[in-house]
Amino acid sequence: MPDATQVMFFLSAALILVSAVLVVTVRNLIHAALWLIATLFGVAMLYVLLEAGFLAVVQVVVYIGAIAIMFIFAVMLTRRDLLSQSPQTNANWPVALGVSALALVGIAYIVRGFVFSLERTPAPLTGDTLQMLGEALTSPSLFVLPFEVASVLLLAALIGSVYLAWNKK
């Protein structure tokens, strides 16, 4: 008999998998972007189940609020009527299906033979994980350097995307 967290896991897994399949198969790209939002929301539910509340909030705000909306804008800016009649997959799609099935089998094989004990129960959380995350991100002995590198990367992406999308005429 599954307990409450297992029921929640199955619900979010079903949401993630169904909407992810629709993202890669549905014909209309606006619909694909909307199904991507459903997938991202399911992943946010998994973060809540894993007791990573801050990441769940960041997932909703950054992924759904910024990235998915940017996809919708890009689809609207590059619409072409011809595309809605022709097939949405290229000629090699059976090869793509085979390669991704092979990747799935390979990863599942590695997970099955994992030395890390797969049936262990998570240790109870001690202390405020949000505070610990903030301290880890700003402490010089931990992750302040990757944090700064990420901010430089975001600045470079900002400048680069403005430059690329700039209309020179």
């Binding site: 896991f9 992810a20 992924y63 590059t78 090869v95 793509a96 599942a108 992406a157 690329l164």
Partner: protein
Amino acid sequence: MIPLSWYLYLSAVLFAIGLYGVLARKNAIAILLGIELMLNAANINLVAFWRYGDPALMAGQVFAIIVFAVAAAEVAVGLSLVISIYRSRKTVVADELDLMKW
């Protein structure tokens, strides 16, 4: 209680779906959508290993946040490339962008 392996299998399936999307779709924006699915699959793994390992070590969550930042940068640059290509070539179909094919 949810075993760790469930998260790993779920993220493996999500990764495979994203890989299929990247390899099979024609539209460049749809390829970027597949990449987003793959990045999310990796993030599920990172957070699951953080929770089932030692939660006092925040490396898993910090790495997940770095992945968020990299995904945001990738989407910004990728979509502006797509828009810039659309402006000059009037297409977003990856097969038709063969200017550099030998």
